[in-house]
């Protein structure tokens, strides 16, 4: 039995490896999503000077688990007169597309050697030729989830929400694509890996070689448009609680609602990935190449964080916390120490580390905005998108192309 299974695996390993990767990624993403909600609630709470979730588990760390259970076990009524097929299709579509988009993101340049094979970080090989285009294709389809959900619910508010979201997404998609063109021009490729490498032309410059600096305008356009694409504050009109009860997913509950929820947070992650890859050098370290000791930064951070967790855990009020937190802290510290001891591993984790940290920063910015910014009015939204964002991004394209042309002309550089 076992032997047969092994034979099967070794027969078409590629398939199984990909499958394994998918499962792993799915697990990670879902977990991250769950804790992202925790993180968001905490941050917003602190912004509003509250405690946030604090009951379930130490620092409310088990809150997401509880939420998950609630979603799973809650009753799931289907409203009367909905278009069944579409009603069920919509959330699936949303989730599937969100996950697909994340599947297209490479998390590291070079493979690990496991079981005698090269295994890349990320589902698709990092040098996918039309990587960014594929990403846009997938995100472009993301509209349907929301729109169809709104339509199929056979109810006023969802319909309005759906209309709004589809209009909004169409409008901002243009700006999104346009603002990226600048980066593409500079990299001369759709390939994400190539785009990142293009920012490492001058390793000694460190973070000053990134695309943000020449593409600052493009970056802002992109980020704003991306936020709008993900229907997040301040562009969360489709689910504006105060106007349309909960927007397009008013009629959804329990797990279908969860799907929308996950989809939204996943797309947040995707956008963060894109931002860091396109403009902030992806997995490149912000420090010049010759700062070799900067390679110990990850482990240093881990160790210090772990020590802080232990220190915090000892003096936690509940007994459970006093037991668990130090354990977690020691694990983290041990991990950091491990990296220090194994230099190859240390080298290897550099890239994912930087990418993930950048993603984390962007996620924080998301939450930050949610905590601080008010919502747009619908007409403001449209006017902003069409009359400001789009022209700006187009102008960015023009300026960039002129600059590149000039560079070719005078410095003869490629």
């Amino acid at each position: 039995m076992i032997s047969f299974f092994l034979a099967l695996v070794s027969a078409n390993a590629e398939l199984f490896i990909t499958l394994a990767k998918i499962l792993l990624l799915l697990f990670i993403v879902l977990t991250v999503n769950a804790y992202l909600t925790w993180f968001e609630r905490k941050v917003v709470a602190h912004i509003q000077s509250r405690w946030g979730p604090h009951r379930v588990g130490p620092h409310g760390l088990l809150q997401p688990l509880a939420d998950g259970l609630k979603f799973l076990f809650k009753e799931d009524p289907t409203p009367a007169g909905v278009d069944k097929f579409v009603y069920y299709l919509a959330p699936l579509l949303a989730l599937a597309l969100a996950l697909t988009s994340i599947a297209l993101i490479p998390f590291g340049p070079d493979p690990i050697r496991l079981f005698g094979r090269d295994i890349y970080l990320g589902i698709t090989p990092p040098d996918l030729n039309i990587g960014i285009l594929a990403l846009f294709a997938v995100t472009a389809l993301g509209v349907y989830g929301v729109a169809l959900a709104g339509w199929s619910s056979n109810s006023k508010y969802p319909l309005l929400g759906g209309l709004r979201s589809s209009a909004q997404m169409i409008s901002y998609e243009l700006a999104l694509t346009m603002s990226v063109v600048g980066v593409l021009l500079m990299a001369g490729s759709f390939n994400l890996k190539k785009i990142i490498e293009a920012q490492a032309h001058h390793p000694e410059w460190g973070l000053f070689g990134w695309n943000v600096w020449p593409q600052i305008l493009g970056f802002f356009c992109f980020f704003i448009a991306a936020v709008a694409e993900t229907n997040r504050v301040p562009f969360d009109l489709p689910e504006a609680e105060s106007e349309l009860v909960a927007g397009f997913h008013t009629e959804y509950s329990s797990f279908k609602f969860a799907m929308f929820f996950i989809a939204e947070y996943t797309s947040m992650i995707t956008v963060s990935c894109l931002c860091s890859i396109l403009f902030f050098g992806g997995w490149l370290s912000p420090f010049p190449a010759w700062w070799t000791y900067a390679h110990y930064l990850p482990s240093a951070l881990l160790i210090s964080f772990g020590l802080w967790v232990i220190w915090d855990g000892i003096r936690y009020e509940t007994l459970f916390g006093r037991i668990v937190l130090p354990g977690v802290g020691t694990v983290i510290t041990a991990l950091g120490a491990l990296f220090v001891l194994l230099p190859d591993v240390n080298e290897f984790i550099q890239a994912p580390f930087w990418l993930l940290s950048k993603i984390f920063v962007f996620l924080f910015v998301y939450v930050w905005m949610r905590g601080t910014l008010p919502r747009f009015r619908y007409d403001q939204l449209m006017a902003f998108g069409w009359k400001l964002l789009l022209p700006l991004s187009i102008m960015n394209v023009i300026l960039t192309s002129f600059a590149i042309l000039a560079k070719m002309q005078w410095w003869g550089a490629k």
Binding site: I130, G150, S166, I170
Partner: protein, 167 residues
């Protein structure tokens, strides 16, 4: 190369089924969804043909923009099940015959024209994006500019059409 053939047949079946269901569906939004399926299947076929850029554009523009517009309009007009009237006599049996004949002709004509083309072993060379861009901005630059004018005109027309006249 059986894998490719298998993929082709899967995608082709998907496309055909989508097209059929576009016809059979009573509600426009279902038709729209079927059409989207067709388009995605076609994108897959394009990938199979090595035209990855076209595939991406197909999904982005058709799937992400045009069909969204359709869905948007359907939702906006709140179109219901299409009522089954048969006022037009032409669009009955004679129409059916004509359609069949036309399809036959199209197939026959194209098939005959393909006889001349022996399927050269195209391994979908992946640098096609560069080639397309070269062609688009060198050989076809004037048509390209013209399309930009077309788009402009279309935008103006749509604006004029959509705005309610102040009365």
């Amino acid at each position: 190369m059986t894998a490719q053939l298998a993929v082709f047949f899967v995608l082709a079946g998907l496309a055909a089924i989508g097209a059929v269901s576009l016809i059979l569906q009573k509600h426009p939004i279902h038709s729209a969804l079927s059409l989207i399926v067709v388009m995605i299947a076609l994108a897959g076929l394009y990938l199979l043909l090595g035209a990855e850029f076209v595939a991406a554009v197909q999904i982005i523009v058709y799937g992400g923009a045009i069909m969204v517009l359709f869905v948007f309009v359907i939702m906006l007009l709140n179109a219901g099940i299409e009522e089954h009237t048969s006022i037009s006599k032409m669009a009955g049996a004679p129409g059916l015959l004509l359609v069949v004949a036309l399809a036959g002709f199209v197939a026959a004509t194209i098939a005959r024209s393909t006889e001349s083309i022996q399927a050269t072993s195209q391994t979908g060379e992946l640098a096609s994006t560069l080639g397309i861009s070269n062609m688009l901005f060198k050989d076809f630059v004037y048509p390209f500019e013209l399309t930009s004018f077309l788009i402009l005109v279309a935008v103006l027309g749509a604006t004029v059409l959509a705005q309610r006249e102040k009365s």
